[in-house]
Each structure stands twice: as C-alpha cells, then as structure tokens.
Subunit: 341 residues, 2 copies
DNA sequence: CTTGGCACTCGGCATACCTGAGTGCCAAGG
DNA sequence: CCTTGGCACTCAGGTATGCCGAGTGCCAAG
C-alpha cells in the first residue's frame, strides 16, 4: 500500500468531488483516472485515508468526500497552481487598465476576480500603514463650517466637516485659515500617517489663545481622519455566486452573507492570513476563525508595495483550489503593477 | 355581498399571510378576525376576490395568497402607515447623530434601515444635480504627476491622477500650477457641476501654447470627475436578510443578489420610483422593471433637499408594508434633517 | 500487496395510502 | 338578495412499505 498511490487517490477524489459535487466511490475513480489498480485496492486506500481523517463518508453506502484536512493536504502537497492562459492574462490586464481612479481599480478588481473564480471576491483598500500625508486642505463651506481634506500619497482622500467657533468670512478669519493651512502642511506633509498625527499635537499651542479652539477642532478632526485612514476598508463582489453553489452550504448561506456584511470581520480575516511573502495563502473550512465562515475557504494574497493589503476569494470548501489560487495570484500581480506605475 | 366587507377580507388575508407566510383559508380568517360572518360567506367573498385577480390559490385545496394586484390595492387603499413609537424614533435619531462624515451617515442609515425592516436597505448618495463646486485643489505628487481634487458642496470629494507633460518641480512649473489652481477656482467655485464643466472649456485657450497640454489634461480630468460626480452612487445593507426569508423566493435568491450587485440597476430603480412629493413610493412584484426583481417589492422615498436622492427597502412581495413604509419614511426624515443641518 | 468475489448496508426513489384542510355548490332561512 | 349550514369533492403532504443499486468491508486466493 504505497504512500504515493494513496495520495494519488486523494488527489483524484478531490478533483472528482470538486467537479461533480457528489461523493466519489471506488468505481468512479477507476473509470475517470488511470490509477492502474483495481477497485478493491482503491477501497483499501480509501479506508486508510479515512483512518487518517483526510476523507469521510456522508453515510455508510456512499462514496467519500474530502475533509478539511484532506483539502489542506491537497493544497499543500498535491496541487500545482496552473498558470492562466495567455489569453486570460491579456484579458485581465486589459480590463484593469481601463480604470480611471483608485476606487475604480478596486471596483474592477473585485468584479474581475469574482467572475474569474465564480465566487465572492474580497479586496482591502491599499494599506496605508506606510503611506504618508500628501496634502491637507482647509475649505471654508460657510462662515462657520470648515471642511478638512486629507490627501494621502496612495491617492486616498478623507474629509471631515467641522463647526468653527470663529467666523471665517472676515479678513482675519481668512487669514487664520490660510495660516493654519500652511502650518499644518509644513508639519504633516510627507510624514507617515501616525507621525503626522503626533506632529500636529503641538500645533494649538503655537496659536493665539483666541484661535486655539478652532485649531484644536481642526487638528482633532485630522487626527480622526488619520486614524480612520489607517483602518482599511474592504470591497467585495460576486455575492450572487454564493446562491449558485446551493447545496455546498450545509445550513444556509445566511451566516455567510452576514459575515460578508461585517467588513470588520473581513478585514480581520484578510489581516490574519499572513501573506507577507509573495505566496497565496489558503484557509480551509474550520481553520477559519469566524463562526459563520466555518464551511467556507478563503484564498488570498497580498498586493501592492510591501504586500501590506490583501485581496482574495471566498467560497465553499469544495472549490477548485488550483484555479482559484492562480486567479488570485495573477490578479494581485496586475493590480500591484497598476498601483505602482 | 358588500364591497366593504370584501375589502376587509382582503386586508385580513394580507395581514395573516404576511404574518404566517402560509396560504390562509376561510376558517383561519374566522378565528383570527372579527368579521361577523360565517366561513361560507367569507368563502363567497374570497371567490369574488379571486375573480378580480386580487388573491390566488397555490393549488386547489389550499388557502389563498394575495397577488401583486392584491398587495397593490392593500397598499393604496387599505393600509395606514402606522407611525413608529417614540422610543423607536429616539433610537433612530441617536444612531444617526453619531455619524462623523457623509460616508458614515450613509453607512449608518442603510444599516439602520436594514435592521429596522429586516430587509435589504438601499440608499443613493445625496444627489448632486443641483450641487456645486466648492473647491478644486491641484496637488503635485511627483515631478510629473498631479492629483486633481474636486470638492463638492455636499461634502463629496472626487480625485483624479494625471500625468503631466511638464516638470512641475521647477519654479516655472510651480508657478504654472499655482496659476492654474487659481484660475480654475475662479471659474468653477460655486457653479453647478454642469455649468462648471462648461466654464472650464475655454481655459486652455487662455494659457501659453506650451502650457496648454497640461491645462487640457487637468480640465479633461475635471470634466470626467464632474460627470462622475453627477452619476450617483448607491450603498446597501442587509443582504443577509434575503437568506432568512427563505421560501419567499420561488426560485432562488440568486437573481436578486445579482441585481443588487449591479448598482446601475439599483440607481435606475430608485431613479424611476418618482418620489418627488414627500410620499413613500411602493413598487410591487412584477411592477418592477428588472427581471431579477420580479418577486420583490421596493419601498422607497426621496430625502435631502428637494428629495432628489432616494432611499428605500427591498424585500419579498410578502412584506409588512405599513411597517416598512413607516420605517422608510421616518429614516428619510431624520437623514434629511441631519444632512441639512 | 493485490485482486476478484461476495455478503451486507442503507440512502433515495417510487408506490400506495390516508388524512385533513380547504373549496365549491346548493338548498334552506332571514 | 344575501347569508348560512351542510355536504361532497379535491389534493398536498405525511407516513409506511418495498425495491434497487451504489458502495463498502472482508476474505481467501494469487
């Protein structure tokens, strides 16, 4: 009973099951794969695999389906990421190059990934831990309302509205705003988001007591925006694909949809996948921390400079891992290219 | 066979069916409602209602369920929008007031509406047809890349990156950018989006031939942003609620999810609901233009100044219309208040 | 270790049957 | 003319039953 053949059997089971979504029996394997042994032998191997917890039978007289551990082993040792065809790659590049701004890049990316994999695509906005302040603009909206706009070097923009304690339509008011704008930019531009917040701390002290309240309000809202900006956002597409893969979810897709709506959950998910290297990370079924996602798998990778932001795909554990991994990797590469250009 | 009683029967059927989600028969009506007549009489009335196409029987020996037309009549003539309780209204106000910026207002609103109605909430970003340019900022990112930022008086911000044909790190380059910034703002600030775009047309001609290409690029991207900004965006929440109301969708929730993902569809939907007045508009089942939404109803209303943007709820035709309408109306009012303050 | 043979299991399908909710209709009563 | 009780009829859905076949496990021989 060679170890090698047993793994070949596991591979065959995974492939068949992914393909047909029905438990696969020894006979079916015999027909669809050239294993060179008889059904009885395969049965023995399957017994052993079941013993090891890699496959399981839904009930006595049925074929076997892979367990989470089975998929895990498949992904780690048996699957090769099949590269996409040239045509597919061209199509990806074409589609992503049409984007007009960052939002559009993100939007197109998730849609693309969803349609490539027929699953739910998830993408974090480019991470900003190492991003810096590009410019800060103060725009008086009315005499007593001021908009603070923070522009980050990655192209993201955050805005806040504040109620001013001073009338800014007067000449002194305008002068104050102008000075504040200049000072703020001197202190913050080109600094990392966290550092900028620290620098701004001292600012109110350098203004006349009468002006300090306004300055404090502005600095406060900037602080807020800087923090918000560090909290990443997430975008998704392809939720309809969940409905398509109907029977794949034991109970209902409800919990999954719920989890998807909690962007915090998704951020945490992507954040803990650990894709520091260039590799594609996979989390299978119960490996997943979130309760609602126990019967789903996540395939993700980092992208962008330093790969600090993540992007990936979420679907039933019964998914075509090689294909999904290839798609995720390819899309991540193209997006990285585009963002860095 | 009084017309009046027949409508009372219809009302009772709708209420019961919404409540139990099971076809309702004459006997059940007799028990749960004080109609003052016997089952046989109710049966006669139900016959008549079926004749009129207001209710239908899923099969011979089952009770009746309302048809789209039945719901329509119910909504138009039989339902009174029951106002929310004081406690509910306080909760709504509290929750919405915690918002820090426009994005947050929108986000909170949809979530709130989804959880109030247990359905899918949809909200258009405040419409900008009558909004105007507040400020335009040009930010050099590198020597040859310039970011154009458009700030609209509603608080929305749109940004575009352009590749400059001239080096902007030189003194002349900086001067050019500064002049361009000033000129653009002179022309565009306080104008409506459409008008601003028109004004900017003439700008390239007023610069030196050498500078025109850059000016044209900037104006072009602004044009783009102005148009984009007029195209509204849409945000939704509560898709998981679709899964909960399982049997309510004849086939699957797939098509519905698909439609929800096509934001263009949703915009069109909200756009064609015609909520000019302060009323709540309802579209029931097949009244709906989009194929994937034939078994859903949409309850929406306008909000904000002039009620040009819409917000609403989407769910199975079997929904609690009075409650939903009340929630939509109440939330719209609070959001309007907040946005106008 | 492999293989063919064989007994065994059990989910799923088809069939049959029964029950009860619900209807439609009718004839009698107000 | 409307209302009402009575009654026959229909039919979806649940339960009981039996059969079939895919699939397994085990064993003895190669």
């Amino acid at each position: 009973m060679s170890e090698e053949r047993r793994l070949a059997v596991l591979r065959a089971i995974v492939q068949d099951y992914v393909h047909t979504s029905e438990p696969v029996g020894s006979k079916a394997l015999l027909e669809r794969h050239q294993l060179g042994v008889s059904a009885a032998t395969i049965r023995n191997d399957m017994s052993a695999l079941e013993e090891e917890g890699l496959i399981a039978a839904p009930h006595t007289s049925a074929g076997r389906i892979p367990t989470d551990a089975g998929y895990r082993l498949f992904v780690d040792r048996l699957a090769s990421i099949k590269p996409l065809s040239a045509a597919e790659r061209v199509a990806i590049a074409r589609f992503l190059e049409g984007a007009v701004d960052l939002d559009d890049v993100v939007d197109r990316t998730v849609r693309l990934l969803a349609s490539l994999t027929h699953q739910v695509a998830v993408m974090q906005y480019p991470s900003l831990t190492r991003s810096s302040v590009r410019h800060i603009e103060l725009v008086p909206m009315t005499a007593r309302r001021l908009m603070v706009v923070l522009i980050v070097n990655t192209g993201r923009v955050e805005q806040r509205m504040i109620d001013a304690t001073r009338d800014m339509s007067t000449p002194e008011g305008q002068r104050l705003v102008a000075e504040l704008r200049q000072r703020i930019n001197e202190l913050a531009v080109d600094r990392r988001l966290g550092d900028a917040a620290a620098e701004l701390e001292s600012l109110p002290g350098r203004f006349e007591p009468d002006d300090r309240e306004l300055v404090r309000a502005v600095v406060g809202s900037l602080d807020d925006a800087l923090v918000e900006e560090r909290e990443e956002r997430v975008v998704l597409a392809g939720t309809a694909n969940l409905a398509r893969s109907g029977t794949d979810f034991p109970l209902s897709i409800g919990p999954v949809l719920e989890a998807l709506e909690e962007h915090v959950v998704l951020l945490k998910l992507l954040g803990t996948m650990g894709h520091d290297e260039e590799a594609v990370a996979v989390r299978i079924g119960a490996e997943n921390p979130h309760a609602g996602l126990q019967s789903t798998s996540v395939v993700s990778t980092g992208y962008g400079t330093g790969r600090v932001a993540g992007l990936g795909v979420l679907g039933p554990t019964r998914m075509d891992y090689p294909l999904t991994m290839a798609s995720v990797r390819a899309v991540a590469r193209y997006v990285s290219d585009i963002l860095e250009s």
